[in-house]
């Protein structure tokens, strides 16, 4: 779990300058920006267009194409829950439903850094406003599912209780 600094055009500029020499530099730059700031702010579009000699439309098109790039700051914790076939075979959809009904957390709920999908009544007594659970398709842990990736750590044989814990804990227990 990382606290990210606020977006800063000058440091964005220097991150771009450090990587612009690479062949096909756009993705490495976008990853570096997201690693630094937790998201890729729309303010970077003209900077990147200038650095890579592209139109703003092309840069915007690239950023928006990929699921990974966020355009607003992430919540404090992001849980990437696998919902592909191998995890479906082990009941990942039941985990999704449990999260909604028992904990009021909607997977892929909208908004960032705000309460996610509090459309269901729930009485678990926890504030989930700093967590987002997002769908991902396959984490390569298909023999030990259901799986999730939490702050870069892979977690296998996930069950409903463990997932709920992850939504409230501050650190990954391993």
């Amino acid at each position: 779990m990382t606290a990210y600094p606020a977006w800063d055009q000058d440091s964005a500029r220097s991150i771009i300058a450090g990587l612009v020499h690479l062949e096909g530099a756009a993705l490495p730059i976008l990853h570096a920006l997201q690693e630094e700031f937790g998201h890729v702010d729309a303010q970077v579009v003209p900077l990147l267009a200038d650095a890579l000699n592209l139109s703003r439309a092309e840069v915007h098109g690239t950023i928006s194409f990929y699921h990974d790039f966020r355009t607003s700051p992430p919540p404090r914790r992001v849980i990437k829950l696998c919902r592909a076939e191998a995890c479906q075979a082990l009941g990942c959809e039941a985990l999704v439903q449990d999260l909604a009904h028992r904990h009021g957390i909607a997977v892929d709920g909208h908004g960032h850094g705000h309460a996610h999908g509090h459309t269901h009544s729930h009485d678990c007594g926890h504030d989930h406003s700093h967590v987002a659970v997002e769908t991902v398709y396959c984490l390569g842990n298909c023999a030990l599912g259901p799986s999730a990736l939490v702050d870069g750590e892979l977690i296998g044989r996930l069950d409903s209780d463990r997932l709920a814990e992850l939504c409230t804990e501050t650190g990954v227990r391993s």
């Binding site: 993705l27 990437k80 191998a86 075979a89 391993s174």
Partner: protein, 523 residues
């Protein structure tokens, strides 16, 4: 790290699957407990042997061979020391000699021969276990001879399409250009597959060696590994391995002291399944929206930045060092028909014993799932098996006697793909699986061609109507028509193969498309 020579070597896997069930905590406990007891040990973080249901599987080196214990949790560690496990002592978790375990003995491990055996980031161990022998032999041969060896081995692309690797390499070799590229497709996005990940985490130098052999064979000087961002552990391992290979002169201006240069970089994808399609991957490497390109021109002639490019899967490159070292014929002696060599099969989903199995082509699905896998984890009957990822067919429990080979599966309108097998028990609803196939395609389509972009969304809608019980015969007719259109008119396999899981579900499990409609819960 300096160690006394009498240190006992204890192996705790660092493979992400092992980490996902607590391998780090086990390694920490073992270190603590050994220190408290004054036992001198060396903990080696190896790759996984592939018996994933036994992870974390700890091994101890003894004079008789390595002895396995598993699955070990941190709470077992004190008891293991009490049982003198560091000398192979008896314990409830003791599995026996690793090499003698049924799962291991049934396999023919060529590509995965070192995985789980060695420290993935020790180049010295890599060499000691036969690493770099293939590259050394390749350096003594002409590029023509290297390409011919790959062709004669019968190796076909392990990414799924099964195109003969030697022919692709020959095309790039014959192309004239001032710059050629070697690109590894490590965007292993198919659910049910993890062989690439295990290989990159468990034996990264093997991939580096295979790509380097490709480079010197066709005259390429730059290479990229395009790795999916869902694999952060593999990313770190590859970066460290490349750095070590550069320091040791395996990569760089002079490959193993020769006059040939090869530089390699890992690039991270950004969560787009379509980037596993080779032309989409190339667009992404170039820094663009990953829109699929029309072929021709083929990437072998106009690939990355328009230059001749070999694009191969991780497992294809990783098979090459063995072929060069042991000879093309030795590799071709495994397998049958037009499927030569070995295939790393990945068994997952609802299965008791899941993991990585490398075998010559030809074993039946049933042997893999029932004999090796032990049936379902839930203990309920097997109902459906999806082979070859999200674009592969669903088979019934009665169809499992088919051999794992490209042609045998194709003959029953299924596909081998990247060798992933996902098992479902009888709680599966195949109409929902068919709906998911379209939903996945709708989310992951690059959007370039209409049959895929629009067809997938229409497919979700049609499935919703069928599930809701609205004019089922008419909607099933629409479903078949839509599937035919997507198959025939999509630009790439994403739209072209999405109908495969859909139609296999419809044809093999028609009862699931004719269930009483349930009131749909609003989602």
């Amino acid at each position: 790290m300096t160690l006394s020579p009498d240190a006992i070597r204890i192996f705790v896997p660092i493979d992400a699957a092992a980490l996902s069930v607590g391998a780090d905590a086990v390694a920490r406990s073992i270190a603590r407990e050994a220190q408290a007891r004054g036992v001198t040990i060396e903990i080696v973080r190896n790759g996984s042997r592939g018996m994933l249901w036994l992870e974390p599987m700890v091994e101890v080196a003894t004079p008789a061979g390595r002895i396995a214990y598993g699955p070990v949790a941190a709470r077992h560690v004190a008891g293991l020391f009490d049982a003198d496990f560091q000398a192979g002592g008896s314990h409830a978790l003791r599995l026996g000699l690793t090499e003698e375990l049924d799962w291991m003995k049934r396999q023919q491990r060529l590509t995965f021969e070192r995985i789980g055996v060695t420290d993935p980031l020790s180049l010295a161990e890599y060499r000691a276990h036969g690493g770099l022998a293939g590259l050394e032999k390749a350096l003594a041969l002409s590029g023509d001879d290297v390409v011919e060896a790959v062709r004669a081995s019968g190796l076909r692309g392990r990414g799924g399409a099964g195109f003969p690797t030697g022919i692709k390499w020959k095309t790039v070799q014959n192309a004239r250009a001032e710059q050629k590229y070697i690109v590894c497709n490590a965007d292993e996005g198919d659910s049910g597959t993890f062989a690439d990940r295990m290989l990159m985490e468990g034996d990264p130098f093997l991939l580096i060696e295979g790509m380097t052999i490709a480079a010197i064979a066709v005259g390429a000087t730059r290479g990229y590994i395009y790795l999916r961002s869902e694999y952060p552990h593999a990313f770190k391992t590859l970066q460290r391995a490349i750095l070590k290979a550069e320091t040791a002169g395996v990569l760089g201006d002079s490959v193993l002291g020769s006059s040939l240069a090869f530089r390699l970089e890992v690039r991270l994808g950004a969560g787009a399944y379509i980037c596993g399609e080779e032309t989409s991957l190339l667009e992404s490497l170039e820094g663009k929206r990953a829109l699929v390109r029309a072929k021709p021109p083929i990437p072998a002639l106009q690939g990355l930045f328009g230059k001749p490019t070999i694009v191969n899967n991780v497992l294809s490159f990783a098979a090459v060092p063995w072929i060069l070292d042991h000879g093309a014929q030795a590799y071709a002696d495994y397998g049958l028909g037009r499927s030569r060599g070995t295939l790393p099969v990945q068994l997952g989903g609802n299965v008791k014993r899941g993991g990585l199995i490398e075998l010559a082509f030809g074993i039946s699905l049933r042997e893999i799932i029932e004999d090796m896998g032990g049936g379902t984890l839930s203990g309920r009957p097997i109902r459906a098996v999806q082979v070859g990822g999200p674009l592969g067919a669903y088979l019934t429990a009665a169809q499992l006697d088919v051999a794992m080979d490209y042609e045998a599966l194709a003959a029953m309108r299924a596909m081998l793909g990247h060798g992933g097998i996902v098992v479902f028990d009888d709680s599966v609803d195949m109409a929902k699986q068919a709906r998911f196939a379209f939903e996945f395609c709708a989310k992951e389509s690059c959007g370039k061609c209409t049959p895929c972009r629009i067809g997938a969304t229409r497919g979700v809608e049609v499935m919703d109507r069928i599930i809701a019980g609205t004019e089922r015969p008419k909607n099933i007719a629409v479903l078949r028509d839509l599937s035919k259109l997507m198959t025939d008119a999509s630009l790439c396999a994403m739209g072209g193969l999405t109908p495969m899981p859909v139609l296999s579900a419809l044809n093999h499990f028609p009862e699931d498309f004719d269930r009483p409609a349930l009131p749909m819960a609003a989602e």
